[in-house]
């Protein structure tokens, strides 16, 4: 169930010490181990990697465990920081990015934010960012016929 008028189903996770969420309809599974093609969410959106995010986010009470989410139609494997949780964000907690933030934020794929009792979550369109990154890489690799 992707979205209702009452809320948005998301998979939340941590990256770089901050809490993010991706729409659950874009998440097709989760792996405990990364594979050779796994990219980190920090690399995808342009956020410095912070392995021990307990230092920067009070909501975390234990060291971060890394998981791999299978994202989008291509099932791209994206490594994120735990805890990874499935939750529904109430509609009245969701906001678009204020225009100054939208204009100046350097992170890729951020669609908006949610303000919950636990703090702020950034809503990220990982499927689009991942697809875009894959296209960029494909552009760099010459077709087999030209090799």
């Amino acid at each position: 169930m992707p979205a209702t008028t009452d809320g948005l189903d998301v998979v939340s996770f941590f990256a770089g010490g901050f809490r993010f969420a991706v729409e659950s309809r874009h998440v097709h599974g989760m792996l405990a181990d990364r594979d050779a093609d796994t990219v980190t969410v920090e690399d995808l959106i342009g956020l410095p990697l912070e392995r021990d995010s307990t230092k920067s986010h009070p909501a975390l009470r234990h060291p971060v465990s890394r998981k791999c989410l299978l994202i989008g139609g291509a099932r791209d494997c994206v490594e994120v920081g735990g805890p990874v949780e499935l939750e529904t964000l109430p509609a009245d907690s969701l906001y678009p990015l204020p225009p100054p933030v939208k204009a100046r934020m350097s992170l890729g794929g951020i669609k908006g934010l949610a303000m919950t009792s636990a703090g702020i979550l950034l809503i990220v369109d990982l499927a689009a960012v991942s697809a875009s990154a894959r296209t960029s890489i494909d552009d760099l690799v010459p077709p087999r016929s030209s090799l």
Partner: protein, 172 residues
């Protein structure tokens, strides 16, 4: 004069005419919000400052420039908070120093603006706003609409439209 008028009504009407005459010759005034950043004072047109926010939690957002402090919840709306010191090229104050957030609104953008203090909200005659002098620092010139003398300070009047426009385009 109308039938049934009493002396009281006539006196009131006469007084009102005199008051109207006084208003008509009054010089137009401009509302200003005067703020300070350390020992430097600046002013905004009152029409561009919607409110002075009560103390609020500002939520830091990753991936934003240092001038963008974060976002704040204003009665259910999310507003950004930008640091006026950073926009004007002034050093940040000591951690924990008291400060206030103004909510600035222009036709193009709205945002919280972090200042050290709100000194005064006042009406000044339009003629009190003078052309900015040539001694205004180069980087402030595009932003300063004029200057006004207030409490022994020469206060630059900042153009919030320009400030916000520069901010959105990354010039500040």
């Amino acid at each position: 004069m109308t039938a049934g008028d009493t002396d009281f009504d006539r006196v009131l009407r006469s007084r009102q005419k005199k008051m109207d005459a006084v208003v008509n010759v009054d010089e137009p005034t401009v509302k200003l919000v005067v703020v300070s950043l350390g020992d430097q004072w600046f002013a905004f047109h009152g029409g561009t400052i919607k409110e002075i926010l009560a103390d609020s939690v500002v939520y830091f957002l990753p991936g934003c420039p240092a001038s963008l402090e974060g976002v704040v919840n204003v009665r259910g709306d999310i507003e950004s908070v930008i640091r006026l010191r950073a926009l004007l090229g002034l050093p940040e104050p000591l951690a924990g120093a008291p400060s206030r957030i103004l909510l600035g609104v222009t036709s193009a953008m709205r945002s919280g603006i972090r200042v050290d203090r709100v000194e005064e909200v006042l009406d000044v005659p339009q003629s009190a706003i003078q052309e900015p002098p040539h001694t205004i620092p180069e980087h402030l010139r595009p932003l300063v609409q004029g200057i006004v003398a207030f409490r022994d300070h020469v206060v630059p009047l900042l153009n919030l439209d320009q400030l916000f426009a520069d901010y959105r385009t990354g010039l500040r």
